[in-house]
Assembly symmetry: D2
Homo-oligomer: 160 residues x 4
Amino acid sequence: MKGTTHISDPHFAERVRESFARQSMMHLIQATLPVVEHGRTEIHLPRWHGIEQQHGFVHGGVVGTIADSAAGYAAMTVVPASASVLTVEYKLNLVAPADGDKLIARGRVVRPGRTLIVTTAEVFAVKDGKESLCALMQQTIMVMHGKVEKQGQVASSRRN
Amino acid sequence: MKGTTHISDPHFAERVRESFARQSMMHLIQATLPVVEHGRTEIHLPRWHGIEQQHGFVHGGVVGTIADSAAGYAAMTVVPASASVLTVEYKLNLVAPADGDKLIARGRVVRPGRTLIVTTAEVFAVKDGKESLCALMQQTIMVMHGKVEKQGQVASSRRN
Amino acid sequence: MKGTTHISDPHFAERVRESFARQSMMHLIQATLPVVEHGRTEIHLPRWHGIEQQHGFVHGGVVGTIADSAAGYAAMTVVPASASVLTVEYKLNLVAPADGDKLIARGRVVRPGRTLIVTTAEVFAVKDGKESLCALMQQTIMVMHGKVEKQGQVASSRRN
Amino acid sequence: MKGTTHISDPHFAERVRESFARQSMMHLIQATLPVVEHGRTEIHLPRWHGIEQQHGFVHGGVVGTIADSAAGYAAMTVVPASASVLTVEYKLNLVAPADGDKLIARGRVVRPGRTLIVTTAEVFAVKDGKESLCALMQQTIMVMHGKVEKQGQVASSRRN
């Protein structure tokens, strides 16, 4: 994203972290959100048995889940505090087995817009400290203006 | 898929069900595979707290996971017993909140090929016995010839 | 699309045909729009030298162009007369060479919405009267309310 | 693409340029291929009436055509001389009207593989010397080993 983009909400990181904390699915797979910057986020995921397929790699659906969320939250960092975001669609290429000690999904905003935001995400497998690309995603996010995402309220209908 | 398509392996349903049973991720989210026919499958998913986002809808990543798997297993029904399959890529449109008592992902083969298989999946939310479309997916599957998927062996690197 | 969908504009076919007629690109490749029904359209394309690649097949970019337009115009049939449509994104699988006497792209609305419409298109090559699938597309269309598409005016910014 | 990638064919640029020259569709829309480097290419397209829609912007199908070709030819630069490439599928986001004096499509290889290559392309509109992003594409390319692309022969079935 262009570095000159206006920051719509100075408290974007807090807002994004609170939303992430409310996602029971993220807890279920043991994902964390250690990086939230303007226009980009990182989701980390340790390797553990419950999210694997039988051969010891992380399931492709889990790879897609963290890619979708990392990019969706990157979009959420650039919208006003009075808006929420939801995933319209995404396209994911799985380019190598998700093998490693942990996965890192890096989402970033490519094209911010008032109604639609285009993002991408890359997912890396980290093995012995070395990262290798395992998935690439391109995504369309919709901005729901005037629909604040609050605890216990239905705000954005899908991403949250 | 054309109804005239040759059945490469008469025991395809057994092979697919065994593979599904080995996916710990499917157990984690409580998904089942009640329908395995030549060229199509169905994955069912009850609504429960752990896979929801904070507003009570099923997480979009879970929707993608069952769509990807339903279509991937549909592809697996049409390949020889000596082959396995893996997801090259998929594109998912989330068209409505995944709200309901359960979700049904229906995958089917649109275009079988020796090396690549094109599939689609639709995910429906079932509420009070009524189905409504919540996601639509288009997917490319690669056939790995000579790589049987066996318990405890790395056969296909991603799907399994 | 559900058969019960309300017709927003009884003159949709006229509106769509006028828009198509203004696309110089459609003239350049010699495409026609013989079918415009509520929620679906067909674009036909004769085989001729200028749109081929060197081996005598129709260029993949042309296949994508008629798929995108057929589905986009299918979406246009379901919006009010006071709205226009534009393509947000599409995903195209090219499943077989576009070989034949002519191509037929069939677009249809899968999920109409107030702001976003999800469509699909199939492109068939017709050879000796027999159709074979050569491409499959899934697309997201945005509805621009209050932006009538008129001759000589910039209405919708991309599709038209 | 990693800078360390092995160059499979030192004459890749010649091979790519010859293929491009045989595409009658590229001539029809007046596209040129001024940049062919290992792992990346550029296709340029002047603005002219025949490829526009009625409002003076370049047609979205044309944008997709040059994105698809730029990325496909980027893939062709990294395969052996004895192989050809074809587009399996691509996903294109149209993020802004294709307005400007000319368009530049930049394709690059993200993940080379023996059988499948993942690429991306960005399309920029150039206006008064200033580039602005108008489209973003993610693509899967298949490598056809032992199928040299030669003049007058059917080598790769789609891209060429």
